[in-house]
């Protein structure tokens, strides 16, 4: 996870003109192949429409249709889920990581649930929270929470001891050490967790919208499109969902770079 963050940061810092253009080469190539395949009939356009019609439909749906509404609903759910996950996950992760024995005793539990496919918990959450918002948001929050707790606890546990000792030698109380040193010391790892958390929250929300009863959201839209064979809109929704995931990740990278300017230096 750390490695991908570094690559991401490097990309943000990309300096030269060529360096800036390069990332666009892959997507443009894929678009070109898609377009050519549709044009030459290599592609069954009834199953996979060409890029032109797909984008046109998507644009229509976003500007005049209901896609922007679905998008907003999905985003709201993701943000709620994320806020809950971070609100509980960061403090709890700090508490768990602060004590090695506590960490060792809950490590397996966290790892186990983290490794359990969240989607397998759908029925459980539906039983507990019904078919409404609570289920979708709750499940996404739960999945993101686990990742955040794990990363924060791990970061706290492995925080370098010298700064903590330094603060202690200056007479800082335990609480001060937590707030002034450990929290900040762990911030890079916390951001790794937050970024992974927001990604997983989006995944779970979209899947939940597909399968836990509802009337809106990108997941709901995609599955409806498939039932009604509205494929252009379906692919458009896929692309928009992808763009949202990418955008969220990128936004976190920017926030991270601003707040954790010292990381790795």
């Amino acid at each position: 996870m750390r490695a991908s963050a570094d690559i991401g940061l490097k990309r943000l810092r990309g300096a030269s003109w060529l360096g800036r253009v390069q990332p666009a080469v892959g997507p443009l190539l894929l678009l070109a192949i898609w377009w050519l395949a549709a044009l030459t009939g290599l592609l069954n356009t009834r199953l996979i429409p060409g890029p032109g019609p797909t984008f046109a439909t998507t644009w229509q749906a976003l500007v005049h249709g209901t896609m922007s509404h679905d998008l907003a609903r999905t985003l709201m759910r993701v943000l709620y889920a994320f806020a809950i996950a971070a609100g509980f996950g960061v403090p709890l992760g700090i508490l768990i990581g602060a004590n090695e024995r506590v960490y060792r005793s809950v490590e397996f539990l966290i790892d186990f649930f983290r490794s359990t496919p969240s989607t397998a918990l759908f029925p459980l959450f539906m039983l507990m929270f019904g078919l409404g918002e609570e289920s979708k948001v709750g499940l996404a929050a739960f999945a993101a929470f686990l990742i955040i707790v794990f990363n924060v606890a791990y970061g706290v546990l492995n925080a370098r001891k010298t700064r903590i000792l330094a603060a202690r030698s200056m007479g800082a109380s335990r609480l001060r050490i937590f707030g002034d040193v450990i929290f900040l010391e762990t911030l890079p790892q916390t951001f790794v967790g937050l970024r992974a958390g927001v990604s997983i929250a989006l995944v779970v929300v979209v899947v939940a919208e597909m399968f836990i009863g509802g009337t809106d959201g990108m997941g709901h839209r995609i599955i409806e499109d498939q039932y009604s064979y509205n494929l252009k809109d379906m692919y458009g929704s896929l692309l928009v969902s992808g763009a949202v995931g990418y955008g969220l990740n990128y936004m976190f990278l920017l926030i991270e770079r601003y707040f954790v300017h010292w990381a790795g230096r």
Partner: protein, 277 residues
Amino acid sequence: MNQEALQRVPTTMRVVDAPRASDAVPRGVEIRGLTKEFAGGYIYRNFDLDLRDGEFVSIFGPNGCGKSTLINVISGLMPMDGGAVMFKGKPIAETKLSYVFQNYRDALFPWMRALGNIQYPLKLLGLDKKTRDRRVEALLAEFDIRIDLHRYPYELSGGQQQTISILRALITDPEILFLDEPFSALDYEMTLFMRERLQHVFMKRRNTMIFVSHDLEEAVQLADRVLLLTRPPTRVAEMVPVDLPWPRDAKSLSNAEFVAIKSHCLDVFSREVGRGP
């Protein structure tokens, strides 16, 4: 009182009372019966040591002999398994002390600017911003340091960073300053400069300095007395006085007396290391 108890009394008396109040030298750091044990065995066992108030003591000894352990225990950064440490007759916990770490990269707070780092101990004391600014200004004026304090530590050179950590240690005007190999991560030029700075600090403040070094020349140069330690379980091999005038500049390092003291320390060191574990 039974026989056994009577016998124990004098021992206890000795431990508590060793430096007499009538001593001409004012009481400095008194270490009594220090015991410290790691998984590998005893590092210190019933270790006694006296350091004078306001003296500069260098600690020198083989790797792993417990130099860091000693100052960590004295400064309270590390708990001891037995014994007591007093300064001027009070428990060391009630003493204003500061600690400079070897690894300034890990000891400074990279999320704070240099100024914030220096002021942090004052913040812990609850002083308001105006007072903090005034204290920093006074400190900087005292040492004539030209570093842009609005930079982050990672934007400064190694020597500048260590200077910041020394300033951070001095801002509270500590009675004792502990330094654990503070210059060992610096290049030679920077090291020479920092030795000069540290002497300057000492001559101005005359606070007690306890300085660990793995460089014998430096240990002798920056000391009123050099504490030579043995291998563990660690004892004092010898306490070597360095009666040379301060400051000791680069020229004084080739002075005959300095060279003689250094070679004497080396003899003691070689004898102790040669003795084997």
